[in-house]
């Protein structure tokens, strides 16, 4: 199996040079790796049908105990074959579609091969995180493929939206995987599947389930994440034929099927999957019916089809599981064919509008035949395999343990709409009269036509010989999924009457809807608009909000006055240090006496000074108010027994005020800081912060050896009783000298600058 992955990866590497060299001949070479993979898978089929299938594993990241493990059993074989076979056909088709532009073909082939590698890895993965890696790879490749041939702005936005939704879902899924691997104590899927009971009884079950479902639903376009799929229709038709019918969108369904033994059986699983699937089915079918663009119509029917599959997986009976797998395979076959047909129509006529495409049957007979057959499979006309799928689905719905009637009714409506769509796609463009009859009746190149024809034919063949080919495979897959294989045949001729009546009724209702299409459209106009607009609008709205918030956030760092930046840093420092210090416990409040009356007066003076500094109108007044603060604080020091401190305080304050006033005389600044509540609050906060810091830093009894020694020496050695003065003037006198020198130098510098300014102002 590693060989298969390697094959496709090498194909991706060599695709571009191969196309450049071979030109027209590329059509023979490009699909070869895919064919090779299909052959490889075919040879392994007998082994794969065994109990546990085949496992291959290589140790990968020892540090995370992650192994690169692959597993081939019935379930993964089915999906892998789809990847390989449809991939080969799509490449053949593409070489006809992109004929003449070998560069584009090369890029398409490279990206498609890369995508196929990722998809193959996804379905073969036997480890949760390996699966995640391939999951994200498929998202990236799909983004690049959509961007292959971009024309319109909304096309690019569509690609981005698609990737964002699936990427976001992927990340949620990753967390879900982590939780799941913790609940099961392993990340290996094979081991996980055997610990189903352990997982289901774990407390992590519900969050893990929700997250994993988020990933699966985003990928498989379930409501409300379905809106990215129509946007992805900007991709060229061959891309849609591969990704959006058979492979990428089925990844979510595959995940659900794979994890069914581990996550299933619990009521949450059934409830969520059932409801989401049913709603998606209806919404998709309704949207499809109202579409005019054929490609979007196919996209919407794909949504409906995926909804059906999810619903069936939610039902969970053996029949339902069987029906789900058959449906997936059948859907892939006819949807890919139809996408290719629509692509050819678009290429030949330049139109995708269902109301304008008419009467092409005469000019494009083979295409008509192919489209008709594929549409019949979609509609569920026997003897095509689509009919078998339809009947199985109804059988499953009727056999559901809860609300079979409701399910059948919902399924009926949805399927009727789908039948109508099938007729719209497969029949309508080719009959009647219309402006598009002007297409020259040329036969499309073989490469272009052969693949859809093959797919359509397969639909017929499988319808006839289903038992030998499909039954054992489906049974093995179902067994892997944890349900008991039934001994009943795939399509017993003794099918219950209800089922066959339902099937026939659907066909009838679908035709009726087709005939009365315009009237039905008029009635359901409002509903359709709502369904289409809703989530997409929400998504765009959210993105818009995020962008707006981001702009504001980025602005915080730029285009701010310096004051604001300083404020931010100051507050941050205070908060960080304050929180840590205060949480450590503050020492007791150092208040051992009541302040005297005059001390209150001085404090009031200081506060008044501060207030007037803040609220004064001219800078000079503010500076003088600052001086008042200084004088008040100095007086406080004086009264509390520190004359030298008071002296220093007053001296420094006077000097500062003088200097500031001098500067103000020369420069005349404007007070530009806003004085709003925010600034006031910030200032108070910083002030309070510093108060707390000071409080917290009050020494809690640790004796500082130096200061004790100094205070002891103060009288005997230096003949001074005021220790502070002694230290300043005697013990650390050189420090003081240095400070004086620095201050003098600064003063000289300031004077020089001011004098220079004065001279300049004069001339």
């Amino acid at each position: 199996m590693f060989l298969a992955l390697l094959l496709l990866f090498v194909a991706a590497l060599f695709a571009i040079p191969a196309c450049r060299r071979l030109g027209r001949g590329a059509v023979w070479v490009l699909p070869l790796p895919f064919v090779g993979v299909a052959v490889l898978l075919g040879t392994r089929l007998p082994d794969a049908l065994h109990e546990e299938g085949i496992r291959q594993s290589v140790p990968w990241v020892r540090g995370l105990s992650l192994d690169f493990a692959l597993r081939l059993d019935g379930l993964s074989w089915l999906f892998a074959m789809l990847v390989a076979v449809i991939g080969a056909l799509v490449l053949v088709h593409a070489s006809g579609y992109f004929r003449g532009d070998s560069r584009l073909l090369g890029r398409f082939a490279a990206l498609t091969s890369l995508f196929a590698t990722a998809m193959l890895g996804l379905v073969l993965a036997d480890d949760l995180f390996v699966l995640f890696v391939f999951w994200e790879l498929t998202s990236i490749c799909s983004f690049l493929l959509i961007g292959l041939k971009h024309e319109h702005q909304d096309a690019r936005d569509g690609a981005l939206r698609a990737l964002l939704v699936t990427g976001g879902g992927g990340i949620a899924m990753l967390i879900g995987f982590v939780l799941l691997s913790q609940a099961a104590d392993t990340s290996s899927i094979s081991v996980l599947l055997q610990r189903g009971d352990l997982i289901r009884s774990s407390s992590l079950y519900v969050p893990a389930l929700l997250l994993i479902l988020a990933g699966a639903f985003t990928k498989s376009a379930q409501v409300p994440f379905h809106y990215w799929l129509p946007g992805a229709m900007a991709a060229p038709a061959p891309v849609s034929a591969y990704l959006h019918s058979a492979t990428l969108v089925n990844a979510g369904v595959y995940l659900l099927a794979r994890l069914h033994p581990a996550l299933g059986v619990r009521p949450e699983w059934h409830w969520i999957l059932g409801h989401v699937g049913a709603v998606t089915m209806l919404v998709g079918a309704a949207m499809a019916f109202g579409q005019r663009d054929l490609k979007r119509m196919l996209a919407d029917t794909t949504i409906a089809g995926l909804g059906t599959t999810v619903l069936l997986l939610g039902i969970g009976t053996a029949t339902a599981l069987r029906a789900a797998l058959v449906f997936v395979a059948v859907h892939a076959l006819y949807k890919a064919a139809l996408f290719m047909v629509v692509g050819i129509l678009d290429k030949r006529t330049g139109l995708r509008d269902v109301d304008r495409l008419r009467g092409l049957g005469r000019s494009l007979p083979l295409l008509f035949l192919t489209a008709l057959v594929a549409a019949m499979s979609m509609a569920g006309l026997p003897p095509l395999v689509g009919a078998i799928a339809k009947e199985l689905v109804y059988e499953a719905k009727l056999g559901a343990p809860e609300a079979p009637g409701v399910l059948a009714a919902v399924g009926f409506s949805a399927n009727a709409l789908m039948v109508a769509c099938a007729v719209l796609v497969g029949l309508r463009p080719f009959i009647g009269r219309g402006e598009a009859t002007r297409v020259e009746p040329a036969i499309a190149p073989v490469a272009l036509l052969l693949p859809p024809a093959l797919l359509a034919t397969t639909g017929v063949l499988l319808g006839v010989v289903h038992e030998g080919l499909m039954a054992p495979l489906i049974e093995a897959a179902v067994r892997v999924m944890g349900a008991e294989p039934a001994t009943a045949e795939l399509l017993a001729d003794t099918a219950p009457t209800a089922v066959s009546w339902l099937a026939k009724g659907t066909l009838f209702a679908g035709v009726v809807l087709f005939v009365f299409r315009s009237r039905a459209l008029a009635w359901s106009g409002v509903l359709r608009r709502g369904a289409r607009r809703g989530p997409a609008r929400l998504h765009d709205g959210m993105m818009g909000a995020v962008a707006a918030v981001a702009s504001r956030v980025a602005d915080v760092s730029t285009r701010r006055p310096v004051a604001a930046s300083v404020a931010i840093v100051g507050v941050a420092v205070v908060v960080i240090t304050g929180r840590a210090l205060v949480l450590g416990g503050l020492p007791p409040f150092p208040g051992d006496r009541v302040p005297a009356a005059h001390e209150f007066v001085l404090v009031a003076l200081v506060l008044a000074g501060a207030a007037s500094a803040v609220f004064s109108r001219t800078p000079a007044a503010a500076v003088i108010a600052l001086g008042v603060i200084g004088v008040g604080t100095g007086l406080l020091f004086l009264l509390l027994g520190g004359p030298d401190l008071a002296l220093t305080q007053v001296a420094v304050d006077a000097l500062a005020v003088l200097l500031l006033l001098l500067v103000l005389r020369r420069t005349r600044p404007v007070l530009g800081v806003r004085k709003g509540w925010l600034q006031g609050g910030l200032a108070l906060a910083v002030g309070a912060g510093f108060m707390l810091l000071t409080w917290a830093a009050i020494p809690d009894g640790h004796l500082r050896p130096v200061s004790q020694q100094l205070s002891e020496l103060s009288w005997p050695v230096a003949y001074g009783r005021n220790v502070v003065n002694v230290i300043l003037v005697d013990m650390r006198a050189l420090d003081t000298l240095g400070e004086i020198v620095v201050l003098t130098a600064a003063a000289i510098g300031v004077v020089a600058l001011l004098r220079g300014g004065r001279q300049e102002a004069r001339t």
Binding site: V61, G63, V133, L137, G147, A155, S551, V553, A554, G585
Partner: protein, 483 residues
């Protein structure tokens, strides 16, 4: 104080060689250039490149284990010495196509780079605060110069000045903190400080304050919010090679020193810091996740993206386990390759009119598929998309963090921010693949540049698929922090 100098050469071998290389470069420039200030500097550049590569190769001969009074050569230090040497080599590669935009000082640039790298290697080995500070200042001061290297451009001078002011501020905070730590513990050496810290239950207020001030100073270097204010303007204004070096080197310096602080100095007591670091991480992630969305200039964009990565590194720091330490080492290496490739692409693409607006990369897929591929790989790795190395880096960080029940909210928040950052990286991809090109000239890519781009791209890809050697190296490096 007895200084044990016997092991000095063993510990500081790389630094000695770098110093010698720097001197040789100066002499070469004087001999070859004959004292002119302008003009080409091929000899110096080649010699610098060769010298750095040689020292890098030689560093693999060194064995960890030497320890002395001024520094230590444990495997953590050795890992980062090699890392800084690799960063310097890559920066020279980014500078090569940029050279013709430098009107003067072409020979001085590699020399300055060598000296900065010397400082970075020095501080990786630091086991006391003095060596740490010396190394840090050497790095910072030279980076001031490199940021203002094109003085004719107002933006470059603006970047230099802003950087100087912020650098001085952060150094001031740091020294203030170191002083407090010294005052309360009586030593500069990490081992002794750690002993004091872990000997008592609750730390004295002065010590806490000092450690927090050091944290603030280092936060500036790393670009943690709210100390990130300088990053957008300096990144945008400085010449692109300097920005490239800053984005990886300065961040790594912050990381190295924070790891020494948290793991070596604080040791087991660091568990008390989890909340502070987690809060910083969350704010940083928020700014990094949202700030890049409205950007239209490439270097500013990478600045905000770098802030987001700093957030992830902080998450790992907050986790404080051996697994998270190994994750950090893995992360910086992947970040190095992804970022350098992106910057080299920016240099090549902005060549014609010296402008780094995002329109330069419009339609790159058509103009040069090679550059588009490299930039795509780089962006996807930075976004954390598998199978690139960046995904595993983030995965390792988050996996380590999930094991800590108190940090679950942080993990969830970081994943949310990862989604928003995915959005803006995808916008770059959208420009590359889905917009029509604004410039139409031919993009010339020299052989050396091509080689470097290819190397970075392959490294990002290879480390995504086969991480084992790098994971082993990272774990070996981290283990020495937990002796």
């Amino acid at each position: 104080m007895n200084i044990d100098t016997s092991q000095l050469f063993a510990i500081f071998g790389v630094e000695s060689l770098l110093g010698l290389l720097g001197l040789v470069l100066i002499v070469t420039d004087l001999l070859v250039g004959k004292g002119r200030l302008t003009g080409p500097a091929t000899a110096v550049r080649t010699l610098a490149f060769g010298g750095l590569v040689a020292i890098f190769a030689w560093s693999f001969v060194l064995e960890p284990g030497a320890e002395g009074a001024l520094g230590t050569l444990d495997s953590f230090a050795l890992f980062f010495k090699r890392f800084f040497l690799a960063t310097a080599v890559a920066t020279l590669g980014v500078a090569a196509p940029y050279e013709d935009r430098l009107s003067a000082g072409r020979a001085e640039f590699p020399t300055l780079l060598v000296f900065t790298t010397l400082g970075m290697c020095l501080l990786s080995s630091a086991n006391d605060f003095v060596t740490l500070f010396v190394g840090l200042e050497l790095v910072t001061v030279v980076l001031f110069l490199m940021a203002a290297y094109r003085p004719q451009l107002p933006r470059s001078i603006e970047a230099g000045i802003k950087f100087v002011v912020i650098g001085a501020l952060s150094a001031a905070f740091m020294v203030y903190g170191i002083a407090f730590v010294y005052g309360t513990t009586g030593s500069f050496e990490f081992s002794q400080i750690s002993a004091v810290i872990n000997a008592q239950e609750s730390l004295p207020a002065g010590l806490k304050f000092g450690l927090l001030m050091v944290l603030v100073g280092l936060g500036f270097k790393l670009g943690a919010v709210p100390f990130h204010i300088w990053i957008p303007d300096v990144y945008q204004g400085a010449p692109t090679p300097t920005t490239a070096f800053l984005s990886v080197g300065s961040k790594a310096v912050g990381v190295v020193l924070l790891m020494r602080l948290v793991y070596t100095v604080m040791g087991p007591a660091a568990a008390q810091w989890t909340t502070v670091l987690a809060g910083l991480a969350a704010l940083t992630l928020l700014m990094g996740g949202l700030g890049a969305i409205p950007q239209t200039e490439l270097k500013r964009f990478l600045g905000y993206s770098g802030i987001s990565h700093a957030g992830f590194l902080l998450v790992a720091l907050a986790t404080h386990s051996e697994a998270s330490a190994g994750a950090i080492l893995f992360y910086v290496v992947t970040y190095l390759f992804a970022n350098m490739a992106a910057f080299l692409v920016i240099v090549i693409v902005s060549r014609t009119d010296d402008d780094n607006h995002m329109d330069r990369i419009n339609g790159l897929a058509n103009r040069s598929p090679f550059l588009a591929l490299v930039l795509t790989t780089s962006m996807l790795s930075l976004a954390g998309v598998p199978p690139f190395a960046g995904f595993f880096a983030k995965f390792m960080v988050l996996r380590a963090a999930v094991a800590e029940p108190a940090l679950v909210w942080l993990v969830a928040f970081s994943l949310l921010m990862a989604v928003t950052s995915l959005y803006y990286y995808l916008c770059i991809l959208k420009r590359i693949y889905m917009r029509d090109a604004v410039d139409t000239g031919f993009l010339e890519i020299s052989g050396g540049a091509r080689l470097l781009l290819l190397l970075c791209m392959l490294a990002v890809f290879a480390f995504g698929i086969y991480q084992q050697p790098l994971v082993q190296a990272a774990e070996a490096g981290a283990s020495s922090l937990f002796r």
